[in-house]
Amino acid sequence: MLITCPYCGPRDVIEFTYQGDGNRERPNPASQDLEAWNAYVYDRLNPAGDHNEIWQHSGGCRAHLRMVRNTLTHEISSVAFVRGAAANTKSGGKP
């Protein structure tokens, strides 16, 4: 599987670390809503089809990426930095 990192270009999956379901929302740090915390930590969407997920390009630029990837075909339909893309990469093309 190749993942096209917005900074580094297409790289082998081995360079990336999977950080799981990208639909989870971390509660406010001060929140005492234990159910919300539990749901955030333990309960995952696990669709057969397109999945919104977080990956880190740990063997490259180390940026975290938000991807939509199909869990049936492994096809990746979108990749973007989780953090707003740096101006530097916006102004230039792919490597």
Binding site: Y18, G20, R44, L45, N46, P47, A48, W55, H74
Partner: protein, 419 residues
């Protein structure tokens, strides 16, 4: 249906093998059952078998989307062991081990359970201590375990590299001699035949497409072969849990589906009679009775239902295998395949009543479900029949995650790819 035995074999051979009957019937689904078991894998079939055998509940249908045993029971690397650290796991898997020891007889079907031993190699003193902790935990629960020295290991498997100049020298290992392997497909077929002989309907090519509900209560399923009603619906579809539970309106669970690859080499004259695992990484290997080395390693590490993995894990596993057995560089990989695993948030399974009324759920086997097949079915049948867990699966609840009562064998927390 006739008993299998050496006599039936001889009698049929004289007849040109023309009189053998199907190992299980191919019935059409009835309109309703006492229990519907969704999933004709190892655990579903064993659940049906024990419902009939232990609880006298025989008005049972097992619904299988494809052919029985098409999931992980037919895709795993066949290791059976009870060498767990944490007591809820050790107890459960040891019960399973005892079932395995008499399973062929029980089922009148040779599942080829071979107690050839499982050896975990240790490469650092700290790891050896870790294994000692686990082995002693087993011994304190009446389970066999022993530590082996490198010399003893070398004697057991002469092809292994115990030299001190290896990158990760072998300092010893934890051996469970009663552990071993079985013929995976035979387990599915044996349970299917056993359940069928007790009246269970095994219905293949019958995909569940939805759940029938009365309010919150589950009252049956819709399938590719029509509606089927049941007093109780048991979902036991590890690998597809996410998909099936979504049909019941539950789209979030403490589970991620991951792909695990497995490998077999070309057939070789047997030289490895023990299951052995590499400790600096993840690789487990055994040699089948046909002579192929059957082995695997880590999951690929991302959500997948594709039963297809990628190249990096292939390379990792081969590298680790050759670190153990440096003479096998010229041996050739024959086939690889993938299975989809329910990776739970603590690495341990879920066998429970619920989460909806009328429903029972068995899932979260990570990649260790094969060895659990007998105990999983046994406990799940108990839970379904009695509406309360057996003491062996009392800890395997769905709410344990939220309550913080985790059974985290590897201590990795809610990071499924690391379990």
């Amino acid at each position: 249906m006739a008993e299998y035995s050496v006599f039936s074999l001889l009698k049929n051979a004289l007849n040109g093998n023309r009189d053998w009957k199907p190992a299980w019937r191919k019935p059409d689904p009835k309109a309703s059952y006492d229990v519907i078991v969704v999933g004709g894998g190892g655990h579903g079939l064993s659940t049906a078998y024990y419902l009939a055998k232990e609880h006298g509940i025989t008005n049972v249908a097992v619904l299988e989307r494809g052919w029985i045993g098409s999931g992980n029971v037919g895709r795993n690397t066949v290791t059976i062991r009870s060498n767990y650290l944490l007591p809820p796991n050790t107890r459960f898997y040891e019960h399973s081990m005892k079932q395995w020891e008499n399973l062929s007889h029980d089922l009148n079907y040779n599942v080829m359970f071979s107690q050839r031993g499982v050896l975990n190699l240790a490469h650092t003193p700290a790891q050896l201590d870790d294994y000692a902790r686990r082995g002693n935990s087993m011994r304190h629960q009446g389970v066999d375990a022993e530590l082996m020295t490198p010399a003893q290991i070398k004697q057991l498997m002469p092809a292994i590299d115990i030299s001190g100049n290896a990158r990760f020298p072998i300092l010893g290992g934890l051996m469970q001699r009663r552990a071993g392997t079985a013929r995976h497909d035979a387990v599915a077929w044996g349970y299917a035949r056993g359940a069928d002989r007790r009246g269970v309907d095994i219905i293949e090519n019958c995909e569940v497409t939805g759940f029938l509900r009365d309010g919150d209560r589950i009252t049956g399923v819709t399938t590719s072969r029509g509606e089927i009603r049941a007093k109780k619906v048991a979902v036991v579809v590890a690998g597809s849990t996410g998909r099936v539970m979504q049909l019941a309106g539950i789209d979030r669970l403490p589970i991620e589906s991951h792909v695990l690859q497995a490998f077999v080499t070309e057939s070789l004259k047997p030289f490895l009679d023990t299951v052995v695992t590499f400790g600096m990484g993840h690789c487990y290997i055994n040699q089948s009775d046909k002579g192929g080395l059957v082995y695997g390693g880590d999951i690929d590490g991302y959500n997948s239902y594709a039963q297809r993995g990628n190249l990096p894990i292939v390379e990792d596993v081969m590298s680790e295998m050759l670190a153990m057995f440096p003479s096998l560089g010229g041996v050739r990989l024959l086939r690889s395949w993938g299975g989809v695993c329910d990776m739970s948030m603590d690495g341990s399974p879920i066998i429970t009543k619920g989460p909806l009324p009328g429903m029972y759920l068995n899932c979260g086997w990570c990649y260790g479900g094969f060895k659990a097949t007998p105990a999983s079915g046994f406990c799940f049948a108990h839970t379904i029949a009695r509406d309360e867990p057996h003491e062996l699966n009392a800890a395997f609840t769905l709410d344990r995650f939220h309550r913080g009562i985790l059974i985290d064998e590897k201590g990795q927390g809610a990071t499924p790819r690391l379990h």
